[in-house]
């Protein structure tokens, strides 16, 4: 029996297809904003895991990894690459995994929950007739946001509690999610004379490891957020709380500038000169763009025929290694290959 975290890790190692080093999953989980990690998200279809554990320490990661080695799930080679064992593949067949949406939330789910927590804490105190209290959320921005929210929604009328309760119940009830996961979410909230439960306390009640608990918590937040976005008209209050939570433009700042110039008709060479950036950097940006923007047309760089050839090669040789693909489709440059891979099986944006 593997713990959640290990299952997720195994899943990621599997998706990397043994073509990256053992450090790649670590950077992915922490959501590293480097060209390599971001492009790998596209190439290996790892959107769901991106940045779900921004605070994961290398020490903790290495500990889990050494369990994998001891349990013979994985062989680590001297050059830092790895191989999954038969035992690992057996496990992958039967494993049930949590569903994340890391790519779209990138840690912002915690902002949503902080807002919700402070709103609930405020309303609970208001209900008890306590007009002043010490907020658990210390972040000034969150506090200001909540103050505005309460005013805009006329909390003095005393109706807001009921309305919010209804939205929370309705939105959560219809999500296909274990009650256990809903408990984890709701018991992290606090109110008047009712401090939230600590991870240790929930873990004791639900008999789960704390790390797993937190992963379920994050996955549940992602599901909840997605549910809210699917039926915005049903949840007017929650809709306010998800303001700016979902990443609309997943491009990094620099890539975004390149994209703007590109869409304004500049060629890659012109952009490179104008921005004083190396051509290879501009290529990185274009790959990021191909990954993220459904409007971006890969065929202005690669013919449809060649795209098909690359995708066929990926299947035939079961690899996404550029070197191998370049041998099979030699007429394409590495840049073109990366564009195709980035585009390949793009998830719905």
């Amino acid at each position: 029996m593997l713990f959640q975290f290990q299952q997720i890790l195994l899943q990621i190692f599997h998706k990397f297809n043994q073509e990256r080093t053992i450090s790649a999953p670590f950077h992915l989980l922490r959501g590293k904003r480097s060209g390599q990690t971001v492009q790998d998200v596209g190439i290996y279809q790892l959107h769901s895991y991106f940045g779900i554990l921004p605070k994961l320490s290398r020490k903790k990661y290495d500990e889990e990894l050494s369990i994998f080695v001891n349990e013979q799930f994985i062989l680590i080679k001297e050059d830092g690459y790895y191989e999954l064992t038969e035992k690992a593949f057996e496990h992958l067949k039967k494993s049930q995994e949590l569903v994340f949406d890391g790519w779209h939330y990138r840690g912002n789910e915690h902002v949503f929950f902080a807002r919700l927590s402070l709103v609930v804490q405020s309303l609970s105190h208001h209900l008890a007739g306590k007009m002043s209290f010490i907020p658990y959320q210390k972040d000034e921005q969150i506090q200001q946001w909540v103050r505005m929210f309460l005013k805009t929604n006329h909390y003095q009328d005393g109706q807001l509690q009921q309305k919010l309760l209804k939205e929370i119940l309705n939105s959560l009830e219809h999500i296909a999610m274990e009650d256990r996961a809903k408990n984890i979410l709701i018991y992290r909230l606090s109110g008047y004379n009712a401090a939230g439960f600590t991870w240790q306390q929930i873990s004791f009640e639900e008999n789960l490891k704390e790390m797993d608990l937190q992963l379920i918590y994050i996955a549940s937040l992602h599901s909840w957020l997605n549910a809210i976005f699917l039926q915005v008209e049903e949840f007017p209050l929650l809709l306010q709380m998800v303001e700016n939570i979902r990443v609309k433009n997943p491009l990094s700042g620099s890539a975004f500038q390149t994209a703007e110039l590109f869409f304004n008709g500049h060629s890659m060479e012109q952009i490179s000169r104008k921005r004083g950036l190396k051509m290879s950097t501009i290529e990185d940006h274009m790959v990021e763009l191909a990954m993220n923007d459904p409007q971006f047309d890969v065929e202005q760089f690669v013919s449809n025929e060649d795209v098909q050839a690359v995708l066929a090669a990926v299947d035939d040789y079961n690899t996404r290694k550029l070197k191998v693909l370049h041998e099979v489709v030699p007429q394409l440059s590495y840049f073109q290959l990366r564009l195709v891979l980035a585009r390949g099986e793009r998830v719905e944006a």
Binding site: I186, G191, G196
Partner: protein, 481 residues
């Protein structure tokens, strides 16, 4: 307006507690003051009340970020808007804005690190203050258990001619430390208010064991049979978790508390403890600062504190309401070695001095030692301070004598274990005071029956509290379940 009226208007109290009036009057006269008041005796009122009389800001230097945040929260809760905390929690934009408007605040809390920054000093030099408060002033003394090198510079920064009065506050300081406070802050023949450190309603127990497991067995037995609320202090984060887990399994509502936990979790625990939904906390010495719980009935030390001042401060969290409370110090053979190890564990050694020098000679910043994992931040602060004051050989000398001092501090706690005479007397003597009276059931040596002090634990048949998210959110938002 009379002081009492101000006390009533702004704080809602009708009378001062011992020492408060004297201290406030001296400060209003423009005199420097050192006040030694036990925790929970209204130290902060001593500078908050003058803040409402003066028309210039009060500057409060405070070493502990969590404590600072706690005080600011409390003041804001009482509708004081003109309060700000300048510390490393601020982002650059907030920091700039706060510094720019510094003169508009009534109370300015600041960390010593922040005080030393150029832009802060410039701003402070351009404005007038009414009072400078140095909280936890014992941190200035290298003999203090919590030496903060940055504190030594406070005197240099704030000790300008025409400076406002300085108020140095502490809960625990020996004679030697008091001397250091006066000297390093360049105080001008300060008025001293020294409250007795004795807390007659806290009864001092101790228990000796052969081995560690026996000690744990005793705790499990004792805690399941006697009434809390209580705190168990232990050394390591790991131990807080394992012991709390065992208590939970025995049906006692318990939580672990240590500095490495999620900050939100720490707040939850403090609040649950204050609410009464949590009976026991198993904690490292990170627990207690800013926890205002009046009715703590027991404090148990599973491991030896690293010095008398820590012991005093930790047992002082019991019985703030003045009711009888029990402090039990547990000892198993070899515990003093462990305490010494913990005491000097986070302390720079000779190798760090050498490493510091080689960083310098390679033209690298010695702070990289922290990032490279060679040394902890606290240890580096001490090292860095001395490396800037003394020659390397003298630094080594200094470090070794301080290390020796820390080991001796553990021996002083051991005296409490080994003594056959009054523990209370010994404790009070340590702080350079004399014991006036002995309460009934004074201490283990004078004769102490635990059952005279604490009650038997009532086992309430708690309704099954299986988690139920619907019930919970209803309870939070509409108040019934």
């Amino acid at each position: 307006m009379k002081l009492e009226d101000i006390l009533n208007k702004y704080f809602g109290y009708s009378a001062f507690r011992p020492g408060q009036r004297e201290v406030i009057e001296k400060v209003l006269d423009g005199k420097d003051v050192i006040a030694l008041l036990p925790t929970g005796m209204g130290k902060s009122l001593c500078y908050q009340l003058p803040g409402y009389i003066f028309d210039k800001p009060v500057l409060i230097v405070s070493p502990l970020l969590s404590l600072m945040q706690d005080q600011v929260d409390q003041m804001k809760q009482f509708k004081e808007k003109r309060v700000v905390a300048l510390n490393s929690f601020l982002n650059p934009m907030q920091k700039r804005a706060s510094i720019q408007n510094l003169h508009d605040y009534r109370f300015i809390f600041i960390s010593p690190e922040m005080l030393l920054q150029e832009q802060v000093q410039q701003k402070l030099n351009s404005m007038e203050l009414s009072l400078i408060v140095v909280d936890e002033a014992h941190c200035i003394s290298q003999w203090g258990f919590d030496f903060r090198p940055d504190y030594l510079r406070i005197g240099q920064v704030l000790g300008k001619p025409n400076r406002p009065p300085i108020m140095a506050l502490s809960a625990t300081a020996t004679q030697k430390v008091l001397g250091d406070i006066e000297a390093y802050l360049n105080m001008d023949s300060p008025y001293k208010f020294i409250h007795s450190v004795d807390r007659p309603n806290i009864h001092l127990g101790k228990m000796l064991f052969q081995g560690r497991e026996e000690k744990i067995e005793w705790i499990l037995d004792h805690v399941t049979k006697t009434a809390g609320p209580g705190i168990i202090y232990t050394q390591s984060r790991l131990k807080t978790e394992s012991l709390s887990q065992r208590l939970l399994q025995s049906g006692v509502t318990t939580a672990a508390y240590h500095g490495g936990m999620d900050p939100l979790d720490r707040q939850f625990i403090q609040q649950q403890f204050i609410d009464g939904s949590l009976d026991w906390i198993v904690a490292t010495n990170a627990f207690g600062m800013g926890v205002h719980k009046q009715n703590v009935r027991q404090v148990i030390h599973e491991s030896l504190p690293s010095n008398m001042a820590n012991y005093m401060q930790e047992i002082g969290r019991a019985g703030r309401d003045g009711e009888d409370s029990l402090a039990i110090l547990l000892y198993a053979e070899g515990d003093e070695e462990l305490a010494k190890f913990v005491g000097i564990d986070d302390y720079p050694v000779d190798a760090h001095v050498d490493s510091y020098i080689s960083y310098r000679s390679r033209n690298e910043l010695p702070t990289s030692m922290i990032h490279n994992g060679e040394i902890s931040e606290t240890a580096f602060r001490v090292l860095d301070y001395w490396m800037n004051q003394l020659q390397p050989a003298d630094v080594k000398q200094r470090l070794s004598s301080m290390k020796y001092e820390k080991m001796r501090a553990v021996e002083e706690v051991m005296d409490l274990i080994e003594t056959n005479t009054c523990m209370r007397e010994q404790l009070v003597h340590y702080f350079g005071q004399t014991l006036e009276n002995r309460p009934e059931d004074c201490c283990q040596c004078c004769g102490l029956q635990y059952e005279n002090i604490i009650r038997v634990r009532e086992i309430i048949d708690a309704p099954s509290k299986e988690l139920n998210w619907k019930r919970r959110i209803e309870q939070l938002l509409i108040g019934f379940s």
